[in-house]
Every structure is written in structure tokens, then in C-alpha cells.
Symmetry: C2
Subunit: 343 residues, 2 copies
DNA sequence: CTGAAAGCGCTTACAG
DNA sequence: CTGAAAGCGCTTACAG
């Protein structure tokens, strides 16, 4: 049962494959092919269960209708949900997604980009790792459509969809301050990543604006490859000493850190919010059923995903109307108050 | 800056593209091409930043080195983690993944399979939705490699990697029984899905083996498209009546239901495990930091993922040694006791 | 040892 | 209105 090709249909009907191609691509009218012939072609195609070979199409047209997606880790609920939104929106326009998890590792991301290039994807949606400026630049130099998500590089002229991290962290910290917390800590990731940097800046700005000092000892910077051990260590340093608790609140810059952090806090027998208040970025499910439901900064994942593919599609297909080339979008977050900061 | 092709390298060096192709594919020795020439080709390829066009390769060889993955929802942490393992293992062998979320909807799955076929993927890893037997059969009839995960169709001769659901649910229920629970409920999904059916069967078998009756009222079957409302309703019916609590324990057949369920239980002001004990399938993060850390049935996601691609690769590339064609693998689960069932 | 040629399945100028 | 032909970038018999 070989697959049927354009040629098979053409032969069957005694016409040229040119004609079949036209009809199947809905350009029958355009070339004034008789309704009768059109009907027959469509019918036969259906009968023979014709499935166009997109690979062949891709080779010929240079368009594969495929988007390459690079995020840190699809198993991370934040990226999982984002990936889902991107998949959904892309599907609406007939695009498929090849997904890659970079683990925040520039070496991997480099390989993945090369792989995607070889696969001739039409465009890239990338949550860029640290030290990957040059990779993005190379893509741009080759005039390949790319839109960055979650983070961006201030020095690179590239479309991106991000969130106002500074504002979000500022609000969260202020919220903590308003509940009487004075020793607010921040556990975050390598600050060379813009979004992380902005979050910590927002946190610091809120402290300063409220007449407090920034205490570097209260800022814990984890490596990208952090696991329970790293988080544990940070938590211990922050709230482990019962007689001299360094922090009375913690702002987690990612939900991955936050979930692990809360696990540690519980293991230490500390109560949230009584002993430590807690706020975190990203509204993951875990926070809803947590020991103490967690107050979070929710990101508009659906909007980020949708915008990302729309902006990308505009770059892929610039013929569309009102399609400004470069789009740098910063969306607002939603602050969701639950119980983890007390009243 | 046009992309460089085989031809460009050939011209540059004044040799044929045949030769270049041989060398680049590491078949230089095989065709006894001089080391000198080989070296030069490799060098030039690197200099010109040659990236083979996999689309062209694919058209010619009929192999795209791409796997199509269909799961219910990549945003669901269970599938997210599974997807990640599959991606990782596939990458080891140079395969990429096009992922699709079916939402347990056979219509979507059908379209997605068609799309993947058009994309000429080399094989399929599918977590099949209900009523998709015919879709799988069609793939098999076309001699396309496919391995099913998470579920399978007893009537279809197809490779699969699943888990011993009956045993898992049996153990979980027994565990509850051993802690003195007598009115154990089960909230699950449409039982036409084998894995769900097996889970409920295991639950029932445990009850019967321990001299209890199966009370159909304690089995709540949710539609695939369930949301908070559906779960809420089930929970209310089960434990909502303070004076006549129908259930003293609940086995959640999926973590999606479980997380929502626990949210409802907490909202009702009920305590876990004092008022209701709880066990759930799937060891998701949320359960670790839960009000009462949840006892779970953990699935060997890494092993499922690895096996799935290995079995698939054996089908794609049957030349490999000791590659039995059809492989139906049932893995054991891990029962992780935490606090949600009491002592 | 190396090259010219065919062909994978499409699309699209170009003729007529 | 319709068809023959070229070509996308590869791989691989087939010659020599």
C-alpha cells in the first residue's frame, strides 16, 4: 500500500500533475480549470487518500510550516503550559512545533538551533539561555525569523514577548512589606539572565523605596543546575537558625525554586506564613493545594504564547498587512493573593 | 548570505558533489577517497558553515529522523515529564520530536496523525485517545512504526509501554484498607480508556478480596473535559455532607483530578487524612508540598520514555540486532507513602 | 577512486 | 485552459 502521490492522481485521471497541484491547492479557479475537472480531482484525491508530502513541498517552496521551539525544560510546568499555548496557536495557522529543552545550557541550545536550522524550520521561538547572544545574532544575520520569550537581550534588536518583571517583583515585595515583614529574602537564579536580574532589581527597589537597606546576604543566587541540595542550603541559611532567623519572608524568583523551597521549609517544621511568609513567581498548580496556598505572580501564559506565534508569523510572512517587523512586547503580570503572606 | 549546499562545496573544491556527500557522511574510507581530499572537504564544509538540508535528505532517503508524539496535554505535568524523557532519549539517536496535544479528543488526534503523516515522520509515539483504534490500525496497516504509551488497545497488535495499573490501584486500595478506611471512593475518567479501567478494576478487586462490597455510588466517572466544576461536584457528593459522609478515603485515578480534588477538599474545610484519606496516581510536584503530602503511585517516567523510543527505533530500523518486532511492556509502579492516608 | 545522472514529490515559471 | 520541464538539495546505483 504505497502512498499516493500527485502523479498517481494525475495518471488515474489522465491529466497533468500540474493541474492536480493547482486544484489541490485551491487555485483551480485562478487557472480557470473547469468545475467538472476540479470536482473529479478532489474526489479522486479523497478516494486514494492522498496526503501531500510536506517534505517535498518544503524542499520546493522553502517553507516547512514548522516552528522550532526552545525552552528550558518542557517538564517544568511553566514552560509546559507556555508550550501548550504556543502549540495551540501555531496549529490554528497550520504550523507544527519541534520542541527542544535546553536545560539553560548554551551548548545544548547551540546544537538545537543547528538541528532546527537543518530541519529548515520557518521560524524560531526561543527562551534564550545565558551566553547565547551570539546564537541569536547568527540567526538574525541569516534573516531567520525569531522571537524571544520570557527573556531577551537588551543589546540585540530582536522581537520578544516578556513580562514586566521589575514591576511584578516590586509589587510582591511591597505586599510583603505591607504585612509587616522586614527581613525579606530573595532566592533566584544566575542574574546574568535578564528576567532574573529584573526580578531582583524590583525586589531591591521596593526595599529602598520603603527606606530599607538591601542586605546582600538575603539574596541567594542559585546555579541553573540547581536541585534540592542547593535550595535546601539557601533555605537553611535564611531560616534554619531558630534563635536567629535571618529572614521572615522569601520571594522565590521561579516556581521551581519555590516548590523545592517550600518543601524544605515544611521539612524544617516551620509554618507559612507564621514563621516565614512566601511569595513566588508563576501560578503553578502546586501552589493552589500547598500547605499554605501561595500568593503568586501569575504570568499571562496564554497571551505570551499567542503573541509569540503571531509576531513570528508576521515575520515569516511579511506580506500580511499592518505587520510591523520588530515587536518588543512587555506584558503585565497578575498578582494573586492567597494565604502565604498572612493578613 | 545564502545557505551553502553540497554543490557549493563541490564547486569550491572542483570535485563532484557525490564525493562531497560521501565524505560528509563518513563514508570516505568506504569509497577509498584519499585522506587529503577528505580533510579538505571537511575543512571547507566547516569554513562555509555547511548545514545539511535534512528536508532534502528526507525526501531522497525517505527518512526524516523525526518522531511524532501525541499525548493528551503537554501542559499536564505527567505528560510534560514523559515528553521530556522521550525528547532526551530521541536526541541521543539524532531524532527530533514534533509534539501534539490531543486533549483526549479523537477528532484532534486524527488530524494530528494526518499532519504527522504528511510531515513524513519516521515513527509515532502515541498515548491514544478513546475511540482512536481505527486511527492506530490505519497506521499499522500502512506499516508505519508506532508504539503506544500509557494506554493500549487489547485488540490491536501494537507495541506499547504501559504500567501495571491493576496492581498499582490494588496496592493503593489495600493500603487504605490497612489504615482502617472502609468507605473508599474512586474518582476516575471515562472507563473506556484501558488504563482508567484497569485502575478501577484494581480498586474493586482489592475491596472484594478484603470482603467488602463495591459500591457504585463511590465510583465517580468524570468526562475527559473535566474541570473544577466536575471535580467539585464529585467531591461534594462524596464528602460534602457533614452528617453523612459517604466516603472516608479517595483514590484519584489521575493527578489532574487529584490536585483539583484536594483543592476542593481544603475549600470545604476538611482535613486530610483525618476527615478523608487520599491516594493518587502520579507523583507530581504539587503532592510534595501539599497541605498533607500525598501518598502516590509513581510511574517510572524515565523508563517509559526511554523504552518507548528504543522500541520505536527498533521498528524504524529493524536491521539492528536482537530487535524483536512487537514489544508489549508492562512496567511496575512505585508506591510512595507520605502522610495523606494517616498512620 | 571519482563523476554524471536519475529521482525523491512537489511547485511554478514558461509555452502553446 | 493545460502540459512539459526545470529545479529545490540531497543520495545512490551505475559507469568508467
Amino acid at each position: 500500500m504505497k502512498k499516493t502521490s500527485l502523479n498517481d492522481i494525475a495518471k488515474q485521471l489522465g491529466v497533468s500533475k500540474t493541474l492536480v497541484s493547482f486544484v489541490l491547492n485551491g487555485r483551480g479557479k485562478e487557472f480557470r480549470i473547469s468545475d467538472e475537472v476540479c470536482r473529479k480531482v478532489l474526489e479522486t484525491a479523497k478516494e486514494m487518500n492522498y496526503q501531500p508530502n510536506r517534505i517535498a513541498q518544503g524542499l520546493r517552496t522553502g517553507k516547512t510550516k514548522t516552528i522550532g521551539l526552545i525552552i528550558a525544560d518542557i517538564a517544568n510546568p511553566f514552560f509546559g503550559k507556555l508550550g501548550r499555548e504556543i502549540e495551540k496557536e501555531a496549529a490554528r495557522y497550520g504550523y507544527r512545533i519541534i520542541f527542544c529543552s535546553s536545560d539553560e545550557n548554551p551548548e545544548k541550545s547551540k546544537q538545537q538551533i543547528a538541528m532546527l536550522q537543518q530541519s529548515q524550520v520557518d521560524g524560531y521561538i526561543i527562551s534564550p539561555t545565558i551566553d547565547s547572544e551570539e546564537q541569536i545574532r547568527a540567526l538574525l544575520r541569516a534573516h531567520l525569523p525569531v522571537v524571544l520569550i520570557d527573556r531577551y537581550f537588551p543589546d540585540i534588536e530582536c522581537s520578544y514577548i516578556v513580562v514586566d518583571n521589575l514591576d511584578a517583583a516590586y509589587r510582591a515585595t511591597t505586599h510583603l512589606l505591607a504585612r509587616g515583614r522586614k527581613k525579606i529574602a530573595n532566592i533566584t537564579l544566575n542574574l546574568d539572565l535578564v528576567n532574573m536580574k529584573e526580578r531582583t532589581e524590583g525586589y531591591q527597589k521596593a526595599l529602598l523605596d520603603n527606606g530599607l537597606q538591601v542586605d546582600e546576604k538575603l539574596i541567594k543566587i542559585l546555579p541553573f543546575s540547581h536541585d534540592n541540595t542547593d535550595v535546601n542550603k539557601a533555605i537553611l541559611e535564611l531560616v534554619g537558625d531558630q534563635n536567629d532567623r535571618k529572614a521572615d519572608a522569601i520571594l522565590f524568583s521561579t516556581s521551581k525554586i519555590g516548590v523545592m523551597g517550600i518543601e524544605c521549609i515544611s521539612a524544617l517544621g516551620l509554618r507559612i506564613p507564621e514563621d516565614v511568609a512566601v511569595v513566588s513567581f508563576d501560578n503553578v498548580d502546586a501552589y493552589k493545594i500547598c500547605v499554605s496556598p501561595v500568593t503568586v505572580i501569575g504570568q499571562p501564559l496564554s497571551e505570551i504564547g499567542k503573541k509569540a506565534v503571531q509576531v513570528l508569523l508576521n515575520e515569516i510572512n511579511p506580506s500580511r498587512k499592518n505587520a510591523p517587523k520588530l515587536q518588543q512586547i512587555k506584558l503585565k503580570t497578575e498578582f494573586i493573593v492567597r494565604k502565604s503572606c498572612g493578613a
